[in-house]
Amino acid sequence: MCERRPISRRNLVEAALALAASPLLRYVPAALADQADISEIAPGVFVHQGRYEIQSPENRGDMANACFVVGRDGVAVIDTLGSAVAGRELRDAIRAVTDKPIRYVINTHMHPDHVFGNAAFKEDDPVYVGHHKLARDLASRADRYLAINKQMLGDAAFQGIEIILPTLAVDGMQTLDLGARSLVLETQPTAHTDNDMTITDTATDTLFLGDLLFSVHVPTLDGSIKGWLALLDKLSRREAARVVPGHGPKAMELPGALESEQRYLATIANDVRRLIKEGKTLEDATKVAGFSERDAWKLFDQYHVRNVTAAFAELEWE
């Protein structure tokens, strides 16, 4: 079902450039180091990098980046990986760094690889935080998400997964205080999904973009291609010391971090618009649109046709 292709040279070069360009990435990690592959990318900001894979019994849904920010009074977790098992490992890694209470579990959006580890934090009794549309959208997809993930993860890795919806719904901008540092949450218009939320750690000027930013891993479109391109345009004019993608390296720099994704989405949009103009069908488009991007991304064969399908269904109404 999922043929894997080796990472292309272009991906490697891009990743290497991204690393070389970011001096803060050389910040020496704290003690935990090898556990769950977590790095401290800035003081008190920790990122675990997920694998460029689709969910499997082997990866236990560990396929997106998960982060945590340690303040004076407590910890905020940003995304919880794709299973309770992986979420538990993330929690263990947090506990290896700090014994401060886990006050907040923030989900950047509704997708299973970012929320299915939520249950691992139940004993901490945190405030679960998300975009105000996340609850509705995740709830209406829950049956399907659970069924698909049970099948793909297998029984062992599926064990303990629960749908835990936000107890704090954010609409607009909201600040969470961790003691001596705060996180600014901003809900975004429909882009990757219709419930994307970005988070800024004000102490280090680190911007967590969730799946608004993919690097190396092909972007997946589950919202609006026009909305996403417009939002990326806006984000490219923003300043931050570093950004953390939902899939990709642990930290990148603006605006270069966004360029590959902008090019990918713009290529699809341009190709699809041209095909629509020529009177071509959705089926025609899924065979040609955006295929010039094939060598630039991992998991292209798994997600690209779906992206074109969604783009076509949106753009044919222009």
């Binding site: 549309k133 709830a139 997809r141 829950a142 219709d194 589950d222 609006s224 269904a313």
Partner: protein, 271 residues
């Protein structure tokens, strides 16, 4: 936990009226076609895979909520067409659409009908064509897709009802000007709600609302009348052929399950 798990089996019953309804678990196991066939066509013979009708649909659907489906009737079939019925065996309502063709449906070239469908679980998909001589011809494909129907959601539900009922109708002359077969594209902005989703904010089921009938006429003459269900994807989209007339503009009338009526005329041809 989550009310939708508890109520789910009830949803299908609300959404579908006439056709075979089975609990999802039972349905996954069962071959529903014999009963479905009996219910729709009685004891009539059906000629399977005789080449009179060709069904094109991807064997694996990338997006189960938006699966392109095309039915072709090759030029070797010269008869007029009476009806076309599309089924997805394992969908909550297996009947997708049923078309009755009129005098303006055309003949004398390749005829086709395309739309996009939701597929709830791995299923056979069928096109049954009735030619003028009353013979039924069937093409069947198996599609690996899951989650398109019971769990079908809009990517942006708030944007869904904006412009509800907006239609685009285009006609295209044939590549060869001597061909008597024209083609058309009809797009309808409509959520085609299947009545199987829960609104978490109100803990109510979002009521079913879908396009149930579409009538296409060319200069007052019927091309086809179609009855359809929520197995048609959000923003229903149809491409089909029709017979050349003196004036090749089309009138399209669409009715949904709420009783709303939407009408549109084709834009100037070739646009």
């Amino acid at each position: 936990m989550f009310p939708s798990l508890v109520y789910r089996t009830g949803f299908a019953a609300i959404a579908c009226a006439a056709h075979i309804l089975l609990a999802p678990a039972a349905k996954a196991e069962q071959d529903v076609w014999p009963a479905l066939r009996q219910q729709t066509f009685g004891d009539r013979q059906i000629q399977a895979e005789d080449g009179a009708v060709i069904l094109e649909i991807p064997g694996t659907a990338e997006d189960a909520s938006l699966v392109p489906l095309t039915v072709r009737v090759p030029p070797a079939v010269t008869q007029k067409l009476k009806s076309l019925t599309l089924f997805i065996d394992k969908n909550p309502d297996p009947l997708v659409a049923s078309l009755s063709f009129g005098p303006a449906a055309g003949s004398g070239g390749e005829r086709s009908f395309s739309t996009r469908v939701r597929i709830d679980m791995f299923s056979h998909v069928r096109a049954v064509l009735e030619t003028e001589d009353g013979i039924l011809h069937m093409a069947t494909k198996f599609v690996a897709a899951a989650g398109g129907c019971g769990a079908m959601q809009a990517k942006d539900p708030d944007a869904e009802t904006v412009d509800l009922g907006k239609m685009i109708v285009k006609t295209f002359p044939p590549a060869l000007s001597t061909s008597p077969i024209w083609s058309s594209l009809v797009m309808i902005k409509h959520p085609n709600q299947n009545g199987m989703q829960l609104n978490i904010n109100t803990v109510d089921i979002i009521p079913a609302r879908f396009v149930k009938e579409m009538t296409v006429k060319r200069g007052g003459e019927l091309v086809f009348q179609m009855q359809s269900t929520f197995s048609i994807s959000t923003n229903p989209n149809f491409r089909f052929t029709f017979g050349r007339g003196a004036d090749n503009s089309l009138d399209v009338v669409v009715k949904d399950t709420d009783g709303a009526v939407f009408t549109a005329q084709s834009e100037p041809s070739g646009s």
